[in-house]
Amino acid sequence: MKRYLLPLLAFLVLVGFLAVGLRLNPREVPSPLVNRPTPEFRLPTLADPAQQLAPKDLLGKVWLLNVWASWCVACRLEHPVLVDLARADLVPVYGLNYKDKRPDALAWLEKFGNPYQQSLQDSDGLAGIELGVYGVPETFVIDRAGVIRFKHIGPLTPEVLRDTILPLVGKLGA
């Protein structure tokens, strides 16, 4: 009996490790930017390139920054979630149009709806690097003081929105 105990124990430990390990998403790398001020950049808006916008201009309100692109298939997946969110008017959503072409981006918004107050054009992806973006879509929750409070990597789901992002937005006092 005793001779089986050790292998059994080792097996259970292994199962435990696998159970945890297989559930982790290796793409979700914790961002060092959470609880740090939003990096500074100033970019032309998608609607009117002559007009520029910076995260600094949004100080004083809680907002979401959603990194998207017309070439990003998963963005299409999350898009209805954003459109619903915009319709519910719970928190302002700003877009960062990442490494995209303006006509493509405009056509995309025309086709699928535009949930964004404004989208910033990050055509060379430099603002994306400042934000540590490595896989679109990504969504940041930014508080009144301009500090990033949460980052979601990958498509937003109604669950993430309901269970994590909206409660956080509520807490931050939107």
Partner: protein, 175 residues
């Protein structure tokens, strides 16, 4: 977690998600054709070979977050190309390697470093393998010792020896 495939990567802007089947196919290809892996390596830019060499030395230290098992030096993902551009630019501005590594860590976390620093969150990573090795060595020693004791106990007493001799004689002994 989403039931479908992961989101589009920077490396495949126009094609998007490959899906499970595509992923499996790619995996099969990668396993079947290991020689082709080197073929896609990023080519250094010829403009200033000395600068490029320095860019690559730093890029070798950094993990590409799009294709996590590749360095930024080896990857052809869009993001890796962009980050090499950043390294190049910062080097020509006179920044040190450490400043550039710090820049990357500030944005992408310790995960970008192929040699992560030793700190509370990475202790297991650094110490874990050695701890396991020690544990395994300990178990091995205990087992060997136990085995030896067992072997010593298996010595036959004179009565058993006599009986064995008799049995061997009966059957005519060893051939």
């Amino acid at each position: 977690m989403t039931p479908s495939c992961p989101w589009s990567e920077n490396s495949v802007p126009k094609t998007g998600c490959l899906g499970l089947l595509g992923g499996a196919l790619l995996l099969g290809l990668a396993l079947g054709l290991p020689l082709s892996a080197g073929a896609g390596e990023a080519k250094p830019m010829a403009s200033d070979p000395a600068l490029e060499a320095r860019v690559m030395v730093i890029a070798e230290e950094l993990r590409c977050l799009v294709c996590q098992n590749e360095t930024i030096a080896a990857s052809n993902a869009d993001l890796a190309v962009d980050l090499r551009g950043q390294i190049r630019q910062k080097l020509s501005q006179g920044q040190s390697s450490q400043q550039i590594l710090d820049f990357m860590v500030a944005r992408y976390g310790d995960f970008v470093l192929y040699r992560p620093p030793l700190k509370a969150s990475t202790v297991l990573l650094w110490v874990g393998p050695f701890a396991l090795l020690l544990l395994a060595a300990g178990v091995l020693m205990v087992n060997i010792r136990r085995h030896r004791q067992h072997a010593a106990q298996r010595e036959l007493d004179p009565a058993q020896r006599l009986r064995a001799r008799q049995l061997l004689d009966q059957t005519g002994g060893p051939p």
